[in-house]
């Protein structure tokens, strides 16, 4: 069976102006993520994992090279089109959750749907379903401050799933959690994978990385299979 590609980076370079000198972080990166894959990126701190994730997640633009989402060259899009495209196709889960503190769990999950203009009732029904799916059906109206770390991350995962994205990125999603909670969250990711979602998770923990079917690393500023 022909594998369908979701994200493809082609000869991607990324460098930053660090004061006076140019700091090259990524160099000649070529990666393709296929539909239904669970990919982990494992590399030491400061090696450019987040940078790579942000480029794949359409949050940041490469200095040089091309980025394709489902075959579409996204770098030709205008900023606002790109934002809308990102909202529809990409889900993010962060180490520090990044929930909106004033909104309830339910509203946090509805937020991505509000942003791309899903009707209110539809958004509410879907958000409830998602929170039930991550095991938080009984915490709909709790604000983040009233939730534990693991619960916050579950809300974040439900939020990432809100617009039924083509791909979900996790940047150290278990980095702020204790071992047991981390296990639960990883179990949830595996569950999502079994249900057919495409996942890319960044970690510096090899144990976590090994849960994925495909492991990438960054060596000499470029991405290689492990």
């Amino acid at each position: 069976m022909e594998k369908k590609e979701v994200i493809r980076l082609e000869n991607v370079y990324k460098s930053y102006w660090d004061g006076e000198q140019l700091l090259e972080v990524l160099k000649n990166v070529n990666v393709t993520i296929y539909e239904g894959e669970f990919v982990s990126i494992v590399a030491p701190s400061g090696s450019g994992k987040s940078t790579l994730l942000h480029i794949m997640g359409l949050l940041d633009k490469p200095t040089k090279g091309k980025v394709y989402l489902q075959g579409k060259d996204v770098l030709t899009l205008k900023d606002d089109e790109l934002a809308h495209f990102r909202g529809k196709h990409i889900g993010f889960v962060f180490q520090s959750f990044n929930l909106i503190p004033e909104l309830t769990a339910l509203e946090n999950v509805m937020l991505p749907m509000w942003i791309i203009g899903v009707p209110e009732e539809e958004a509410e029904i879907r958000a409830k379903q998602l929170l039930e799916r991550v095991g938080l059906g009984h915490r709909l109206n709790f604000i983040p401050a009233k939730l534990s770390g693991g619960q916050k991350q579950r809300v974040a995962i439900a939020r990432a799933l809100a617009n039924n994205p083509s791909i979900i990125f996790g940047d150290e999603p278990t980095g702020n959690l204790d071992e047991d909670t981390a296990k639960e969250i990883l179990e949830l990711f595996l569950e999502l994978h079994r249900q057919g979602n495409t996942l890319v998770i960044v970690t510096h923990d090899m144990k976590v990385a090994k849960l994925a079917q495909r492991i990438l690393t960054i060596k000499n500023k470029t991405v290689v299979e492990l």
Binding site: H54, A83, G87, F94, P101, L111, I115
Partner: protein
């Protein structure tokens, strides 16, 4: 999305309250000033116009400022006086219905000082009653009778039929006028009596008159005719050389409006300073919100929010605060207006101030909003 705006606003209670308060004060003050100047305009100028629109007064004084009118007539700083025969010439002008010499003196009445105005007895019904109605009694018919303005009557505590003492002479009160407010004859505050009777207390040279009062259907036209007549009679060619003035309620309200306009402009300028301060508070508040919610805004952008929506969100937050302040300001000023008759708020004032608030708030929050839109999510979320 409204949920987000409201909840974000409520998350900074003190800041929100201060912002609302500043708009409340700025907009409230401006509305108060507008309302006050409306009230003053209505009270003084429109009643003046309504009440004495057919009266023309000719005085041998150069009057540059209506505020000093009363004082100048009273103190009699006139250098020259009109001759009696001027009356006949004015009588012959087109459109003039009645002409009387007039004089106003400050006299002791029952040992208090009052303005006493003399108008010829046979012309008194026409001149006085064409403008002001009698509350009770009738107009004076002889030198022994007077009528009182309502404030004088109340002040002296006299009724129709009572006698009063004017500088040692006893006269009978035969009528009391209705309250008229501001008018050219200042009728509420004066005593009207026969011209010769009042003149007898002054020191006019023979065959001279201090002032003339005329009645005409078209007072401004009559005023022009009289002025022309005077210019010809005294050989005056330049306006500056005139030592006399012809006053109508229209000429006074014109001058009053001009003065009121200057006063109004001055007060509006002051209240604009407070409006400016409110705008700075709004802008600063929006900047603080952006700085505080740096990560949140980055998150919204991660979730697909477009730059223009980030701008709208920031402006919407500022607008909710401003409009809350504005509504409170309108409510307070309207409550004030129900107690203070001089405060007159019109729909157009409210519309103007609402537009002003909306435009001001959008401008004040636009730059912070653009600042928010420029946040780079990748950059903002790098520091976990």
């Amino acid at each position: 999305m409204i949920v987000l705006v409201v909840k974000r606003i409520l998350s900074h209670k003190l800041r929100t309250i201060l912002n609302i308060l500043s708009v409340l004060i700025g907009a409230g003050f401006l509305l108060f000033v507008l309302g006050l100047s409306n009230g003053i305009e209505e009270k003084f100028i429109s009643t003046l116009n309504k009440l004495s629109s057919n009266i023309v007064i000719v005085v041998p004084l150069k009057i540059n400022n209506v505020l000093f009118l009363q004082r100048e007539i009273r103190t009699g700083v006139a250098m020259e006086l009109f001759k009696e025969n001027l009356l006949n010439k004015i009588k012959l002008l087109p459109g003039i219905k009645a002409v009387s010499p007039t004089i106003q003196l400050t006299l002791k009445v029952n040992n208090k000082s009052y303005q006493v105005t003399g108008i010829e007895t046979k012309l008194a019904p026409q001149i006085i009653l064409s403008n002001i109605e009698l509350e009770r009694g009738r107009i004076y018919r002889s030198k022994k009778e007077v009528i009182l303005g309502p404030i004088v009557a109340e002040d002296l505590d006299v009724k129709v039929g009572d006698s009063i003492n004017i500088e040692g002479k006893t006269v009978k009160v035969v009528g009391i006028l209705k309250r008229a407010g501001t008018s050219l004859l200042n009728s509420d505050n004066v005593i009207f009596g026969d011209y010769d009777f009042v003149k007898s207390f002054g020191h006019l040279p023979p065959k001279r008159i201090a002032a003339i009062v005329a009645i005409s259907e078209n007072a401004s036209l009559a005023a022009q005719e009289i002025l022309k007549l005077l210019d010809r009679a005294y050989g005056i060619t330049k306006e500056d050389d005139r030592w006399y003035s012809v006053i109508t309620s229209e000429s006074i309200s014109k001058q009053l409006s001009q003065m009121l306009f200057i006063v109004k402009a001055f007060f509006i300028a002051i209240s604009l300073v407070s409006v400016l301060v409110s705008l700075i508070v709004i802008s600063n508040n929006a900047y603080m919100n952006v700085a505080d919610k740096y990560r949140e805004i980055a998150t919204l952008k991660v979730l697909g929010m477009r730059n223009k929506d980030v701008i709208l969100l920031t402006i919407a937050e500022a607008l909710v605060l401003s409009l809350t302040g504005l509504i409170l300001a309108i409510v307070f000023v309207l409550i004030g207006a129900s107690f203070m008759s001089l405060l007159k708020i019109t729909i157009s004032d409210i519309v103007i101030i609402t537009l002003f608030t909306i435009i001001g708030t959008v401008l004040a929050s636009y730059f912070p909003a653009r600042h928010a839109a420029k946040i780079e999510p990748a950059e903002a979320l790098r520091y976990e």
